[in-house]
C-alpha cells in the first residue's frame, strides 16, 4: 500500500562529500516490505522546485518506525532536503516500486552485491536482510574518489567488502568490473544498483548467473501514471515496455534492453 505522509526528521548528517544520511519516522515505514524500494519526496510546499525527488531506501527499522536514506545533495531539491533539521517534516510518498527479491538467495548461499555511487545505499538493507536469513554476501562498492566513499564500515561489519574508486584514491583503482575481473569471486546470485553502463557490464561478465538489477531514470509521478521513466525490453519478457518506477526499479537480469 502506498501512502502519503508528512514524516518527521529524526537525524540528518553529512557522511561524505555532498552525501547526506537522513532518517525519517512515521507510519509509512510499516509498509516498507522489500529492500530496493524507494520513496518520492516533496521537499517544499512551494512550486520551486515543483516535482518530487525519488530517493532509495537504505535501511528500515520497523520497530522504531524509522527509515534511512543516503542521497547526494547536488541539485536544487536535494540541497533543500539536506537543510532539513531534527523535528522538521518531509512530505513522503511511498513505499514505491518493486525491490530486490531476498527470496532468490537460499540460506548458505553467497550473494554478490555490486553498487556504484548513489546506487550503493539500497544494497545496505538488502545485505542486512540476506544475512538475517543466513546468506553470505560479498560487497563491491564503487565511488568516484575517497571523498565520496560512505558506509564502508557498515558493509564491512556485515561481510566481505571491497572499495573501488575511479581515481584510485581509496581501494582498487578503476571500475567495479576491474576489481571483479581480478578477484573472480564465487557466488550464487548477484544484486546490483548503479549507473546503467555498470549494470550492463555485470550482465555481460556473468552470463550464467542469476541476477537482479536496479535502474534509475528521470521520473514524473513515481507511480506509473505519467510514462516518463519507461524502458525498452528484451525478448525475455512479453511486455513491450516496462516502467522503472512501478514495474521496477529492480528487474531480473536480461529483461531490460541495455
Amino acid at each position: 500500500m502506498i501512502h502519503q505522509e508528512r514524516m518527521k526528521v529524526v537525524r540528518q548528517q553529512q557522511i561524505a562529500e555532498d552525501i547526506f544520511e537522513l532518517t525519517l519516522t512515521g507510519q509509512l515505514v510499516l509498509d516498507m516490505k522489500q529492500p530496493g524500494q524507494f520513496v518520492h519526496l516533496r521537499v517544499t510546499d512551494t512550486y520551486e522546485p515543483l516535482l518530487r525527488r525519488p530517493i532509495s531506501i537504505a535501511s528500515i527499522d520497523h520497530e522504531l518506525k524509522e527509515f534511512t536514506m543516503i542521497y547526494r545533495a547536488d541539485g536544487r531539491g536535494t540541497k533543500i532536503l539536506s537543510e532539513k533539521h531534527l523535528g522538521e517534516v518531509v512530505d513522503v510518498l511511498g513505499p514505491l516500486g518493486h525491490g530486490f527479491p531476498v527470496e532468490e538467495a537460499e540460506p548458505g548461499q553467497t550473494a554478490l552485491l555490486v553498487g556504484g555511487g548513489i546506487g550503493v545505499p539500497p544494497l545496505y538493507q538488502l545485505s542486512k536482510e540476506l544475512h538475517a536469513k543466513g546468506v553470505r554476501t560479498i560487497h563491491v562498492l564503487g565511488f568516484q574518489s575517497a571523498n565520496n566513499v560512505f558506509y564502508e564500515k557498515q558493509f564491512s561489519e556485515l561481510d566481505e567488502t571491497y572499495i573501488v574508486t575511479a581515481d584510485g584514491s581509496q581501494g582498487t583503482k578503476g571500475f567495479v568490473t576491474d576489481l571483479l575481473k581480478g578477484k573472480a569471486p564465487t557466488f550464487d546470485v548477484f544484486y546490483s544498483c548503479g549507473p546503467t553502463p555498470m549494470l550492463s557490464a555485470l550482465e555481460q561478465a556473468y552470463p550464467d548467473k542469476k541476477g537482479f538489477l536496479s535502474f534509475e531514470e528521470r521520473m514524473g509521478c513515481g507511480i506509473g501514471a505519467c510514462f516518463a521513466c519507461v524502458c525498452n525490453t528484451t525478448a525475455a519478457t512479453d511486455k513491450e515496455y516496462l516502467k522503472i518506477c512501478s514495474d521496477g526499479p529492480v528487474f531480473p537480469r536480461g529483461v531490460v534492453k541495455l
Binding site: E217, I223, C226, V230, E240, Y241
Partner: protein
C-alpha cells in the same frame, strides 16, 4: 442542491474537476489513493489506433515552477483501451472523456468512431495539439482549416459530443477556436503544453532526448488564463480550462475568465490527492467569494 454541479454537452459533472489527459494514465494508479467516483470526469491518456511506444528517455525535465515532457503519446492502442482500460473504469460513477490522437484524419476518425461507442465514454477530446509527435497532433492544431476539417470529420462519426484540445503554440488562438466551432465542436479544452527546451548546464545540450518538450505546471497558468479569457469572448461553446491548476483558487481563476470546468495535470504528480483536495476546498471558496453556486463564477471577468 449540489453547488458544484456543472452541465456541459454530454457531461453531467458533479464538480468541475477533471484530471487532464496524459497526467492520470487510465486511472488505475490514482485509484489506489481515492475513490475515482469523487471526480467530475476523467480525461484518459491519448489513444491512437495502434500501440505507441513514444519517445526515447529522458522524457521529462523540471523547470522553474513547471516541467517539460516529451512522452510522445505512448499508449497501448485502441483495441487494448476498449478491452481493458475503459471496462476497468466502469466500476466508478464518473464520465470518461476519451482523448483521441492520430497521424492523419483517417486514424482520428477510426479511433473516434470506436471509442465513442464505449458505454462510459461521454465525450471525446480531440488531440490536435500534442507538441511531441512528428506527424499529426499539432499540425492539425496550428492551421484553422485543418482543425476545422478534422473536427467535422470526427463529429460525423462520433456518438458523443466532441471537445477539441487547443494548442497555445499559435499566433492567434481565437482564430483556431472559431474554426473548430465552425467545424461543429461541442466544446474546447485548453491549453495543451507550451513548447520549450531545457539545457544541461554542463553540455549545453537539451536534457530531453526529443530536444523539445511541452511545458506545464504553475509556470504556464498566466498564459492559459489569458488564452481562455480571449477564446471565451470569441466562441459560444463551453471551455474546459487547464494549465497549472493546483489549488481551488486556480480553479476560480479559470472559471472567472470563462471556463466551465477545469482540468488538473502536472499537480497530480506533485500531490496524488490534489483533485479530491481541490474539490473539498471549493465550497468554502464559494462562501468566501459570496457565490451560491459554482456556475455563478463562470465568466465573471467579462461582466
Amino acid at each position: 442542491m449540489n453547488r458544484l454541479q456543472v452541465e456541459l454537452p454530454g457531461l453531467s459533472l458533479k464538480n468541475p474537476i477533471i484530471p487532464a489527459s496524459g497526467c492520470f494514465g487510465f486511472g488505475q494508479e490514482y485509484g489506489q489513493f481515492y475513490d475515482l467516483s469523487k471526480l467530475g470526469a476523467i480525461m484518459i491518456k491519448a489513444t491512437t489506433l495502434e500501440t505507441r511506444f513514444g519517445n526515447p528517455t529522458p522524457r521529462v525535465a523540471e523547470t522553474a515552477a513547471g516541467m517539460l515532457n516529451a512522452i510522445g503519446l505512448q499508449n497501448p492502442g485502441l483495441e487494448h483501451v476498449l478491452a481493458h482500460e475503459l471496462p476497468w473504469l466502469e466500476k466508478y460513477d464518473v464520465p470518461i472523456i476519451a482523448n483521441v490522437a492520430g497521424t492523419e484524419t483517417a486514424d482520428y476518425v477510426a479511433v473516434a468512431e470506436a471509442i465513442s461507442k464505449a458505454p462510459n465514454v461521454h465525450a471525446l477530446e480531440l488531440n490536435i495539439s500534442c507538441p511531441n509527435v512528428k506527424c499529426g497532433g499539432i499540425q492539425f492544431g496550428t492551421d484553422p482549416k485543418s482543425a476545422s476539417d478534422l473536427t467535422a470529420a470526427v463529429k460525423a462519426v462520433s456518438d458523443v459530443p466532441v471537445y477539441v484540445k487547443l494548442s497555445p503554440n499559435v499566433t492567434n488562438i481565437a482564430e483556431i477556436a472559431k474554426a473548430v466551432e465552425a467545424g461543429g465542436a461541442d466544446g474546447i479544452t485548453m491549453i495543451n503544453t507550451l513548447i520549450g527546451m531545457r539545457l544541461h548546464p554542463r553540455t549545453g545540450k537539451p536534457i530531453i532526448a526529443n530536444g523539445t518538450g511541452g511545458l506545464s505546471g504553475p509556470a504556464v497558468k498566466p498564459v492559459a488564463i489569458r488564452m481562455v479569457h480571449e477564446v471565451s469572448r470569441n466562441v459560444n461553446i463551453p471551455i474546459i480550462g487547464m494549465g497549472g491548476v493546483a489549488t481551488a483558487e486556480d480553479v476560480i481563476d479559470f472559471l472567472s475568465v470563462g471556463a466551465s470546468a477545469v482540468a488538473v495535470g502536472t499537480a497530480n504528480f506533485v500531490d496524488p490527492f490534489v483533485c479530491p483536495n481541490i474539490i473539498d476546498a471549493l465550497p468554502q471558496k464559494l462562501d468566501e467569494l459570496g457565490y451560491d453556486k459554482l456556475t455563478d463564477v463562470i465568466g465573471r471577468s467579462h461582466r
